[in-house]
């Protein structure tokens, strides 16, 4: 557990440097050119939470706004990547058999209502996830053999089998610590331990946080944070240009030039995978040759160029996650080969329908229409609202009613979806699915990280070779930050946006 300790020391050092800077301008913090304690930070976003109930509502926008800011878990994801770092647990040990995790909770932590946080709260939170199937990420703890709190500041979790992904999974909603006794309506209010408290939320508009003055750790650098949600990219960029927004973590690369004069533009890596999924449960996409032909028809370089900020991806694991390998060799851009594959499959005058949510815009469908036309496949684009996509494509009972779909799957380390026979893009070949499931299970049970990553890479290759989907690209965040704003996160911001370390000069 050396790394977490080192991380801790580093935060202290940074915090000390930060407070030095603050004392240098002790006069109310209003000296121009130095961070102002009373400053507010306005973050412009598009995707907003549907409601704030972190226990029952899933979605990246909710985790992005609340985890690390309002709620904290035993462990967290590092601000510059997806490594696991301490949060409410200041340290932990893992037993040699990788079955028992012992977490040591930080001292002096209290909830926003003032009540102290103890191991009883952590125990209750984890037990709820384990016992209640309606709670988000129930699967993370469902099979845990035992969860207990031997004393006020210790929590132990014993697994029934080693799980390489377990600690990382605890950085999600499953590992959050909420008060054991609490009647807060979590849909609209919050009672966490984080550096910010929830001030107000107006759906369709904005979510405001204010600094938690009694925070157990280093207090937040700004007094107030507002997440302002915009209707579309054009509105978001207008907000930046008229000066009402300080930072935008997800700008359309095409529009970023409009901001480049006044904002610092940073590109950052994400685990956002744009997946063109095939419904391989029904003809003609149940034929692997047809699926491979479609993948070979796609010119990924052209897509990367059109998108502007993206990395190539040819299999289910993105570069930030363990097990990533460059699988470009599996499907080179090869329209001639694609036409041959279609002929072999005996498919003529193929016409397919792509179902895509309207918030992705027309660019990707347009590129695919022309790519497929080149191999004699007509693509009809069916643009729908996201709610419609959920019921028409994602709902398992409609498995046979869709053909192609594009969705941005943002969650890191979500390989397990490829092992789920009921998921919308499931693998419908018993032998392949079993092989993938076995390899994934082995990877999770493997104690050695590198060996586990190798097994994951093998599983990923099996998936990629069965062509259940085409991975169009990994999105890169184009982050625009106004002058005077420092410490804004620059990695995986679509799922985590911890803002306690941000300072603003005024």
């Amino acid at each position: 557990m050396n790394a977490p300790v080192r991380f801790r020391l580093m935060t202290v050092a940074i915090a000390a440097a930060g407070s030095l800077a603050l004392t240098a301008c002790s006069g109310g913090g209003s000296v121009p050119g130095s961070p102002a304690e009373s400053a507010s930070l306005t973050v412009g976003l598009i995707a907003e939470p549907t409601n704030l109930d972190i226990r029952h509502t899933s979605g990246a926008a909710l985790e992005q706004a609340l985890i690390g800011n309002v709620y904290e878990g035993l462990v967290a994801r590092a601000i510059d990547g997806d490594q696991v770092v301490p949060a409410l647990a200041e340290s932990w040990e893992v037993s040699d058999d990788a079955l028992t995790y012992t977490f040591h909770l930080a001292d002096g932590v209290s909830f926003h209502d003032g009540s102290p946080m103890t191991s009883a709260d952590a125990l209750a939170s984890l037990t709820t996830v384990k016992s209640d199937p309606s709670v988000n990420n129930h699967a993370v703890l469902a099979d845990a053999a035992d969860i207990s709190a031997p004393d006020e500041s210790t929590i132990t979790i014993t697994l029934d089998a080693p799980n390489q992904n377990f600690l990382f999974a605890l950085t999600g909603p499953a590992g959050l610590v909420l008060p054991a006794e609490d009647d807060t309506d979590r849909r609209t209010a919050a009672n966490g331990t984080g550096p910010f408290t929830l001030d107000s939320w107006s759906r369709g508009d904005a979510l405001s946080l204010v600094r938690n003055e009694d925070y157990w750790g280093e207090p937040a650098g700004v007094a107030e944070v507002s997440f302002v949600y915009f209707g579309d990219q054009a509105a978001l960029v207008s907000g930046g240009r008229d000066g009402s927004v300080d930072a935008m973590p997800a700008i359309d690369p095409e529009l970023s030039s409009q901001l480049s004069g006044e904002f610092t533009i940073v590109e950052a890596t994400t685990t956002d995978k744009f997946i063109l999924a095939f419904n391989s449960a029904a003809a003609p996409l149940d034929d692997v040759r047809v699926r491979e032909a479609l993948r070979r028809a796609i010119d990924h370089d052209a897509i990367l160029a059109a998108v502007g900020a993206a990395e190539p991806l040819f299999g289910p694991i993105p570069p930030l996650d363990p097990g990533y390998e460059d699988l470009a060799g599996i499907v080179p851009h090869d329209p001639e080969g694609a036409r041959k594959l279609l002929a072999e499959a005996g498919v003529e005058d193929l016409s397919l329908e792509l179902t895509i949510s309207n918030h992705y815009g027309p660019r990707l469908p347009t590129l695919l229409v022309s790519a497929f036309a080149d191999i004699g496949v007509a693509l009809e684009v069916n643009t729908v609202e996201f709610a419609t996509w959920l019921s028409d494509v994602h709902d398992p009972s409609t498995r046979r009613d869709w053909q192609l779909s594009i969705v941005n799957h943002v969650e890191p380390r979500d390989f397990s979806t490829w092992t789920d026979p009921d998921y919308y893009y499931a693998i419908h070949d018993e032998a392949v699915l079993t092989a993938v499931q076995e390899r994934y299970a082995e990877a999770m049970a493997e104690i050695d990280q590198d060996a586990s990553a190798e097994l994951l890479a093998e599983a990923a290759q099996l998936v990629a070779e069965w062509h259940p989907a085409d991975w169009l690209y990994v999105r890169q965040d184009v982050i625009a930050v106004a002058p005077g704003v420092t410490g804004f996160p620059t990695a995986a911001t679509s799922t985590r946006l911890p803002l306690a370390g941000v300072t603003v000069e005024r």
Binding site: E48, T50, N51, S58, N136, T188, R203, G239, D395, S397
Partner: protein, 320 residues
């Protein structure tokens, strides 16, 4: 008169009831539901089913309708399926943006339409009149969305005079900033609606100019403009009021669109967000409130019309 009011009130109530049924049924045709939206891509079908039951979405549609309309009749618009917040309270909160926006837009529309409409009519045979008319025709054809974006580019981005986006966090606690935030959106709606109204004012004024009683007044020694202003316009005013009623529906629609463009936290933006999340109880409440507003404006205009137009009153009394 009381009998007329009673008849109109009955019609209004029937209209609202019909609207409620249409709104309710139309929304049920939409695919997807709020439970699916909440559970998202990471949840299981079992989670969706459990949530549907908890929210009462698995009950027969007729029962859902009766429960809703029963609540509405007792003044309860229900609660948001997503957040549990009372719909009426959220409507009242968002109305603090939408209502001032609508009123400002109306003022802009009237300020543009009435004087320039009359001028365009008086100068109908001159180049300036024709130009005004053509300009109005052009402006009336401009989509509100595009007009909004153009105004943002010119006044917010190039000139930097006014904010392009959003509403102050303090709301009307900071009246200056709140008003500034509404100027561009109100201009956008007001100019387009004003151009429509201008053409109507112009043609109504033209009718008045040619009317016998104006000509008589002119013959009695008034100037043509004087005769028009003193005798013609009061007669035309009535039809302008009627037209304003129609215009208010246009302003409501304009507000829904323009709140998106300017990121204003009003009823329109809330409506779009709620439809997207399939928060149907809230969408029902919002649509019913908007429909109710337009129907009630129509009702009031009828009453005003009748109160100030002696001819209508006479015919009605002859009929009754």
């Amino acid at each position: 008169m009381p009998r007329y009011v009673l008849t109109r009130l009955t019609l209004l109530a029937l209209g609202l009831l019909a609207a409620s049924a249409i709104i309710f049924c139309t929304l049920r045709i939409l695919p997807g539901d709020v439970a699916q939206t909440i559970v998202g891509t990471e949840g299981t079908p079992e989670q969706v089913a459990a949530l549907r039951a908890e929210l009462g979405l698995d009950r027969p549609v007729l029962l859902q309708y009766l429960a809703w309309i029963g609540g509405v009749l007792t003044g309860d618009l229900g609660e948001s399926l997503l957040t549990g917040a009372p719909v009426a309270a959220e409507l009242a909160e968002k109305a603090r943006v939408t209502v001032p926006l609508g009123l400002l837009s109306l003022v802009v529309a009237i300020v543009i339409a009435v004087p320039f409409g009359v001028i365009a009519a008086l100068r109908r045979n001159r180049v300036s009149g024709a130009a005004l008319n053509a300009l109005a025709q052009l402006l009336a054809a401009v989509p509100v969305l595009w007009a909004g974006m153009m105004l943002i580019v010119v006044f917010a981005i190039v000139l930097g005079w006014l904010p392009a986006q959003g509403f102050p966090r303090a709301g009307w606690g900071d009246p200056g900033a709140a008003l500034r935030a509404l100027i561009l959106p109100a201009l956008t709606i007001g100019v387009v609606e004003g151009a429509l109204l201008l053409r109507f004012v112009r043609s109504a004024t033209l009718t008045a100019i040619d009317a016998d009683f104006v000509r008589t007044a002119a013959a009695k020694g008034h100037t043509r403009t004087g005769a028009l202003l003193r005798h013609g316009l009061p007669a035309v005013g009535l039809s302008i009021i009627t037209m304003l009623g129609v215009q208010i529906a246009g302003i409501v629609v304009g507000a829904v669109v323009i709140e998106q463009v300017f990121n204003l936290p009003g009823i329109g933006r809330m409506l779009v967000a709620d439809v997207g999340a399939r928060d149907l109880t809230k969408v029902q409440g919002e649509l019913l409130a908007l429909t109710g507003f337009v129907l009630i404006v129509g009702f009031l205009i009828d009453l005003v019309h009748r109160a100030i137009d002696p001819r209508q009153r006479d015919t009605a009394e002859v009929q009754s």
